[in-house]
């Protein structure tokens, strides 16, 4: 099963950490978490994927859905620290350009 750690930093950036496998069941919950953040006015979001052991196309869909609604609200969604398994899926789907992985959570919004 998966857990989501969610925190809002002092600079207003929301950090979501999916801990476990981001598959079909988990994707629905990630969608809710991301939608909730944007709805509450947090439109700059970092998804820390250092503890995401698996990602499938529905998890990807939830990330892209979050990216779109964050951008619509004037912000952005960035992914940081993907595991090898997650990076592999980014590459196979050619989404490593759209979801360009950042090296750290702290600096994910630096440029």
């Amino acid at each position: 099963m998966i857990e989501f750690k969610v925190e809002t930093r002092d600079d207003g950036i929301g950090v979501v950490t999916p801990q476990g496998r981001l598959n079909m069941v988990a994707a629905r919950r990630l969608k809710e978490v991301l939608g909730g953040l944007v709805g509450d006015g947090t439109s700059r979001i970092v998804v820390d994927m250092a503890e995401t052991t698996f990602l499938d196309s529905s998890g990807l869909g939830a990330l892209i859905g979050g990216l779109k609604s964050a951008r619509q609200a004037g912000g952005d969604l960035r992914v940081a620290r993907p595991t090898e398994s997650v990076l592999n899926v980014f590459r196979l789907t050619n989404l490593d350009r759209v979801l360009r992985p950042r090296d750290s959570v702290e600096s994910a919004f630096d440029e």
């Binding site: 496998r21 069941v25 899926v89």
Partner: protein, 164 residues
């Protein structure tokens, strides 16, 4: 991508898995909740085959879960949905030998309408769905679909990378 003609029955991997030693076979309801159990099935396969490289584990697990997710999501979509759980089931077999990783998935749902050779990533980078089959195809060396006796039969093949 399949290099076998999908209209022609063949004695490829589908025929092989039943004789592969150490194979793991599961039959369960086609529910999203069963997905965790299939992850556990693969973990058990890796425990039995510690020499399988991460790169091969990743692509095999990706493909297996995508095909299963499609079964759960699409193969029953036209059936009436009622409050009770209806007996929607799937079967999965996974096995490894020195050369490859093989999975077979079967279900009693509707036939698939797609031609696998047309499958591609969506044009729109920001599409929120439509990547599942393309991802499975990209992860595998061979993906084979057949409709046999009112059942959908998928066969997945990863040729193992030569270890360093």
């Amino acid at each position: 991508m399949s290099d076998q003609d999908p209209r022609e029955p063949d004695a490829g991997p589908a025929a092989d898995i039943a004789s592969m030693e150490g194979r793991l076979e599961l039959s369960a309801p086609a529910d999203p909740e069963t997905m965790e159990l299939v992850h556990a099935l693969l973990e058990s396969l890796w425990v039995a085959h510690p020499d399988v490289l991460d790169v091969d584990r990743f692509r095999f697990e990706t493909a297996v879960i995508e095909i299963l997710a499609n079964i759960v999501e699409h193969a029953y979509q036209l059936e009436p949905v009622d409050g009770e759980r209806s007996p929607r089931r799937f079967e999965i077999g996974v096995a490894a030998n020195a050369d490859c990783l093989v999975a077979t998935l079967g279900d009693n749902g509707l036939p698939m309408a797609l031609d696998l050779s047309d499958v591609a990533m969506p044009e729109d980078d920001l599409a929120e769905s439509g990547r599942g089959l393309a991802l499975a195809v990209a992860a595998l060396d061979d993906l084979h679909y057949e409709r046999v006796g009112g059942r959908n039969q998928w066969t997945l093949l990863c040729r193992r990378a030569a270890s360093a």
